[in-house]
């Protein structure tokens, strides 16, 4: 494998090698660095950002880097991570969904109301979950139909959704004020912890599966005579993942344990990453985002892809709504309001998903949400007001988009647009 040899000074000036099989780790690193300089930043800015955030807050408050606060952080980030994963789908299309905040609110309120013991008919956790997910899918499909079949810009449809679903939350709550969630399953969703041994087993199984998958691919590619990344790089990837996962489990187990919601997040992360990278549907989403015309000419139903993405987005917002309601153990007229919407959209953008469509990953939502939740959490520990939090988070968002835009220019000037 060789790149198109971008005209970067200090880059691989020598003629690019076409073989690729015998590429060493240092060649790979040099090529990666050339890519970074040409604007292929990947997750680099965000990891640097996270480190800076951790250093700054730890220097201000000793409680930031403690096991207890780390567990809190995961639970706090869970809802915006989930909603952000859904946002990735609409951002990949180059669209936007402004309604996710209150769609999550609707989902939370519906969850609370369906499981309320003083109802004439109380739903069990399973059916409630199914109904709420279907409500999410239905709302998203409705948005998608308006956007594709009638041709209203997604900004307008979901702006109306922002107002409309807020209204639905108010109507559903009525004069109750606050509804306490009384179903054990839904309370435990964001408040229970995995048994410590179970976490270790799951972590090790997960790492083993990841390593197995990478090396299976490596063997298959070699068998078919196709070039692959150097073995050392595969080992490095497995090592990085293993260290990260084991560290998370270890730190959490110092405190209350790994939150149950972490398992949900991991499941969603793996599932949607698989969908985006390994299925025809996922490939078609990228194609529609990159060039809707190319996709249409390739026989892809652009409308169906868009509707599906909005449906997924709203469904993920519904799951986020359940997590949010569970964490607070109640829903009220303000459910899904406040900073939820903006944090959820900011998360994938900070994580490196492009607002212009065609570029983005599920991982970006996770990393971005981690940054936002860290700042929110850290500023909270410092006892700063909501106003300060918003201003600083806004600054980080602007910084992230600036980095993206500059990287875009870099890509354009080196022909990687």
């Amino acid at each position: 494998m060789s790149t198109t040899a971008p005209p970067v000074e200090g880059g691989p000036g020598a003629p690019s090698v076409a073989s690729g099989g015998g590429e060493s780790l240092s060649d790979y690193a040099r090529r990666w660095w050339a890519g970074v300089k040409a604007g292929e930043l990947g997750s680099l800015p965000i990891i640097v950002g996270l480190i800076i955030v951790a250093i700054v807050f730890q220097s201000q408050n000793d409680n930031f880097l403690t096991a207890g606060n780390f567990v809190n952080l995961i639970v706090q980030a869970a809802a915006i991570t989930t909603i952000g994963m859904g946002i990735v789908f609409v951002l990949l299309l180059g669209e936007i969904d402004l309604s996710v905040g209150f769609v999550s609110g609707v989902a939370g309120v519906v969850t609370a109301l369906l499981t309320l013991p003083d109802n004439s008919h109380v739903f069990a956790a399973g059916p409630t979950l199914v109904i709420v997910l279907l409500v999410g899918l239905g709302i998203g499909t409705f948005h998608g139909l308006l956007i594709t079949k009638i041709g209203i810009p997604s900004f307008v449809v979901t702006l109306a959704g922002l107002l409309g679903w807020n209204g639905v939350v108010l109507l559903l709550i009525g004069d109750r004020g606050t509804v306490i969630i009384q179903n054990d399953f839904f309370v435990g969703f964001a408040n229970d912890f995995l048994p410590k041994s179970t976490s270790w087993i799951l972590a090790i199984v997960g790492i083993a599966l990841y390593a197995g998958m990478l090396f299976w691919q490596r063997i298959q590619r070699a068998r078919h005579g196709l070039p692959s990344a150097p073995d050392a790089l595969l080992l490095l990837r497995v090592a990085v993942l293993a260290i990260a996962v084991l560290a998370v489990v270890y730190v959490c187990n110092q405190d209350r344990g790994v939150p149950y919601v972490m398992l949900v997040l991991s499941g969603l992360f793996i599932f949607w990453t698989y969908v985006l990278n390994r299925t025809r549907f996922g490939r078609h989403i990228y194609a529609v985002g990159g060039s809707a015309e190319a996709a249409r000419r390739a026989g892809i139903s652009v409308d169906n892809i868009k509707i599906a993405c909005f449906a997924i987005c709203s469904m993920m917002a519904a799951i986020g709504g359940i997590i949010l309601a569970s964490r607070l153990r109640s829903v009220d007229t303000n459910s899904g309001g406040g900073s939820i919407l903006l944090y959820s959209i900011a998360a994938p953008v900070i994580g490196g998903t492009s607002l212009f469509g065609g570029r983005g990953t599920i991982k970006s939502a996770v990393l971005g949400a981690l940054v936002i939740a860290s700042i929110d959490n850290g500023l909270g520990l410092l006892g700063l007001s909501a106003g300060t939090k918003f201003v600083i988070t806004a600054g980080v968002l602007l910084l992230a988009v600036t980095v993206d835009s500059i990287a875009r220019k870099g890509r354009a000037s080196s022909g990687r647009a």
Partner: protein, 259 residues
């Protein structure tokens, strides 16, 4: 060249409101033949290929494929028959790599999970590029945005011929290319004809056409005005046909043409 044309259009008409874009156009191309389709701007070349592609439905007339009348209602119908079109703007997604673009909409999947079969796709993409002697693309895993115009055109052509297609229609394949890249693409067009495909080449560049085409069909204001064998015609005659070819029907809406 066989007696039955691979693709034949008989008396095809198409109008958009009051504008008659095509008027009883006849057109045919045989296996192994490179047929050039020429005409000035607005002559109806693009409309004609969009009718063949099924993007527009025809108002009247018929389309025959291997002698059989067919109806084409969309890009998928055309693809099923073995008609592939390489559009002027290439229709490649910049954010996808070469393999992903070549298989767009027709990805191979593996059995149990219906997950993408990247291995098969990468191998087939490599083979196709090799068959077409495209040597300018060093890695099929690079993103299309980073390719030159000639490389992109090669990818688009390779994408078109990979599907055992029988008819390949190229819309202005050399329009935006430099000298060396034009050379690459013209060689590629010749090879397609030699491999037994029916090739339709749309171009404004008569020099290119006289280099690779076997026959030339001239459209003017939506009508056929001439059809030549390349060996029996000069560039001047073709230019005359393009600009002043005899029309069978004077379009009523375009008075300035008569004057």
């Amino acid at each position: 060249m066989t007696d039955t044309p691979m693709l034949e259009l008989r008396g095809v008409s198409k109008s958009f409101g009051a504008v008659q874009a095509l008027y009883e156009v006849d057109f045919h191309v045989s296996a192994g033949e490179v047929m050039a389709l020429v005409g000035d701007n607005g002559a109806g070349k693009s409309t004609l290929i969009k009718c063949i592609a099924g993007i527009y439905s025809i108002d009247s007339g018929e389309i025959l494929f291997e002698g059989q009348p067919v109806s084409i209602h969309g890009p998928k119908d055309a693809a099923r028959l073995g008609i592939e079109i390489v559009y002027q703007d290439l229709a490649l997604a910049d954010n996808l790599d070469v393999v992903q673009n070549m298989f767009l909409g027709r990805e191979e999947v593996t059995r149990p999970l219906r997950s993408l079969d990247e291995l098969t796709m990468e191998k087939r993409a490599n083979n196709t590029l090799e068959q077409l002697s495209v040597t300018t693309i060093s890695s099929v895993r690079q993103v299309v945005a980073g390719l030159s115009g000639g490389q992109r055109q090669s990818v688009a052509v390779a994408k078109a011929v990979m599907w055992n297609s029988k008819v390949v229609i190229l819309d202005e394949p050399t329009a935006a290319l430099g000298v060396a890249q034009t050379r690459q693409v013209l060689d590629l067009v010749k090879r397609l004809g030699q491999q037994g495909l029916a090739v339709v080449l749309i171009s404004h560049n008569l020099h290119d056409i006289f280099e690779v085409a076997d026959s030339i069909t001239v459209l003017r204001l939506g009508q056929n005005v001439a059809e030549y064998k390349r060996t029996e015609v000069t560039q001047t005659q073709v230019v005359e046909a393009i600009t002043a070819g005899k029309l069978s029907k004077i379009p009523g809406v375009q008075d300035e043409v008569i004057a």
